[in-house]
């Protein structure tokens, strides 16, 4: 059983710089991450760069933990992209818009590797 958190996703500057470069290492190292504040990291027992597994009703994904000041306790931020979208909701509530922010999630440390983008996409082909 992981720790309950509120998942949000959104843009970052490096994500933007690599918008046309999504198969790159730079995109991978920026976007396959999960920002949270120090207290939450301590609670989880992880440090920056450690793998964490994020699970929601819609899926699960492994990303690297990243300490970020200014993120409130109980909130995790995954930059918009394939890793975040593996666990957000496609229910649009009749408005056409999926829910990219405010998803109930559980997070836990994991030994599993973070999947590169091509391997991540392969999961949808199965």
């Amino acid at each position: 059983m992981g720790t309950k958190v509120n998942l949000i996703s959104g843009r970052t500057i490096v994500q933007g710089q690599n918008l046309d470069n999504k198969l790159s290492e730079e995109y991978f190292s920026e976007v396959a991450t999960c920002e949270m504040n120090k207290a939450d990291m301590e609670k989880l027992g992880v440090t920056g760069g450690d793998s964490v597994k994020v699970k929601t009703s819609y899926g699960e994904v492994v990303v690297r933990a990243k300490g970020k000041e200014g993120t409130p306790e109980g909130v995790i931020f995954i930059p918009m992209g394939p890793w975040a979208n593996a666990v957000v909701s496609g229910d649009t509530h009749g408005a056409g818009m999926p829910q990219y922010k405010g998803i109930d999630a559980e997070i836990e440390p994991t030994e599993e590797e973070v999947l590169h983008v091509k391997d991540l996409m392969k999961r949808y082909m199965e």
Binding site: G16, A95, Y100
Partner: protein
């Protein structure tokens, strides 16, 4: 080496048009002035899709443009419920052909507003939008509010060119005589610059707008001591600043459109603006993401009557977002073919949608390889608008600006690719008609 001035950036909704670049040997070799780091990255270029390709036995095989276009046309002509999606990172000239293609095959045409400011459109259709051009903000605004928007990361030149940091006619001293309020869940880089930062609890935007609106109309008494994590004292201070401003503006981003209340948040944001307008000049503007997402909304509106999520299967335009927006169609597994142009649903759609895309024929038109390429069945590389092709785009404030062509290319422009697909589709249909 040639220096080109007045280069127009084809990255985000800011559409900066004062960039200076150097071109040597048909390559952009230096960005000398004007672009932010994100725009610069775009101008300097990345790895491309090298050849048109068709997927055979699970892997993409290179082919000619002719073959890829023909294959795409065959797939589209045979489709029963096709989806044509994207359109925001290309020029209006291509978008127009897209709408015509959608009419021809009775497709649903949707654009990235659907997963960006679609809820803002729904709100505007409910209450309207008191707004202005960005130059108005530059020259007049003494109070700038960023709400659920982080321009420091997403629109890096926005404050410098148009809002907080720039100097204009009545704002000759720049930020010295302006105030910046930021409302966000996280203390972002933008929030750190603010005079007032309201750190709200995630998903509580609606409540905070309601509180401000009540106060602007004089009903302080109904507002509790804490709303959405913000103290009444801070809310009162915000209201005081709004009332005392000569010209205020709210810029809002996906922090407001992506959360649970969706368009209801934006209706409330606009109503808050109208409430502020009873005291002083107040405007509101969505922070549009892609450089021409405003443009596809414009084109789609003047051609079909509606800005996004338009179903043309009846021969005329039918509009009901939430019924046939891209995500809804995919989640219901309704569409049987998808064409993606100038967008990357592989990266930006919820996984649940992608699971369906992996099962149906997908056509991709894009300059760059991306997660969508991983499951696309026909891949057609395109020239980069704003670098290799010119055309019209609309800035986030709906000001039209013409992208410049900086270098020559062998790649076909989006407009030409689509025109050729349309021509092939018509030829197939004519043959079938015989």
């Amino acid at each position: 080496m040639v220096e080109i001035t007045d280069v127009v950036c084809s990255l985000c909704g800011c559409v900066c048009d004062d960039i200076v670049v150097e071109v040597e040997d048909n390559n952009v070799t230096k960005v000398k002035k004007g672009a932010c780091s994100v725009g610069k990255s775009k101008l300097m270029g990345h790895g491309r899709i090298e050849s048109p390709a068709i997927r055979e036995n699970g892997s993409l095989k290179d082919c000619s443009y002719d073959d890829a276009i023909k294959k795409a046309a065959e797939i589209l002509a045979a489709a029963r419920r096709p989806l044509l999606y994207g359109w925001s990172s290309t020029v209006c000239e291509a978008d127009k052909v897209g709408v015509e293609l959608a009419e021809e095959i009775g497709a649903v045409i949707d654009n990235t507003a659907s997963v960006c400011h679609g809820p803002s459109v729904l709100a505007i259709q409910d209450v309207g939008l008191p707004s202005c051009t960005l130059g108005e903000v530059k020259n007049r605004a003494d109070l700038i509010i960023y709400w659920g928007a982080n321009p420091a990361a997403a629109h890096a030149n926005h404050m410098k060119r148009y809002s907080y940091i720039t100097k204009g006619y009545w704002t000759a001293e720049g930020k010295k005589n302006k105030k910046l309020i930021v409302v966000d869940v996280r203390r972002t880089a933008t929030a750190k610059m603010a005079d007032v930062f309201l750190q709200i609890e995630q998903g509580k935007d609606y409540l905070v707008f309601s509180a401000l609106r009540a106060m602007l109309y004089g009903y302080e008494d109904v507002v509790p001591e804490v709303v959405g994590g913000v103290s009444k004292k801070d809310l009162l201070e915000t209201v005081r600043m709004m009332k005392e401003a000569k010209f205020g503006i709210i810029f809002f981003g996906m922090g407001v459109t992506h959360t649970g209340a969706r368009h209801n948040n934006i209706v409330n944001a606009i109503q808050t603006t109208r409430a502020a307008h009873t005291h002083t000049k107040f405007n509101i503007m969505p922070m549009r993401g892609h450089y021409n997402v405003a443009g596809i909304n414009q084109v789609c509106t003047w051609e079909t009557g509606y800005p996004f999520a338009v179903d043309l299967s009846r021969g005329y335009a039918w509009y009901n977002p939430g019924e046939h927006s891209a995500t809804d169609l995919l989640i219901r597994r309704e569409c049987d073919v998808a064409l993606f142009i100038a967008s990357d649903p592989g990266a930006h759609f919820p996984g649940e949608s992608i699971r369906h895309l992996a099962k149906i024929p997908v056509i991709q038109i894009d300059p760059f390889p991306n997660p969508t390429t991983e499951f696309a069945d026909v891949v057609i590389p395109a020239a980069i608008s704003g670098i290799e092709a010119e055309g019209n785009v609309y800035r986030m404030d709906n000001i039209p600006i013409r992208l410049r062509k900086l270098v020559d290319t062998e790649y076909m422009a989006d407009e030409e690719i689509l025109e050729r697909i349309l021509g092939e589709v018509r030829a197939i249909k004519e043959k079938e008609g015989e």
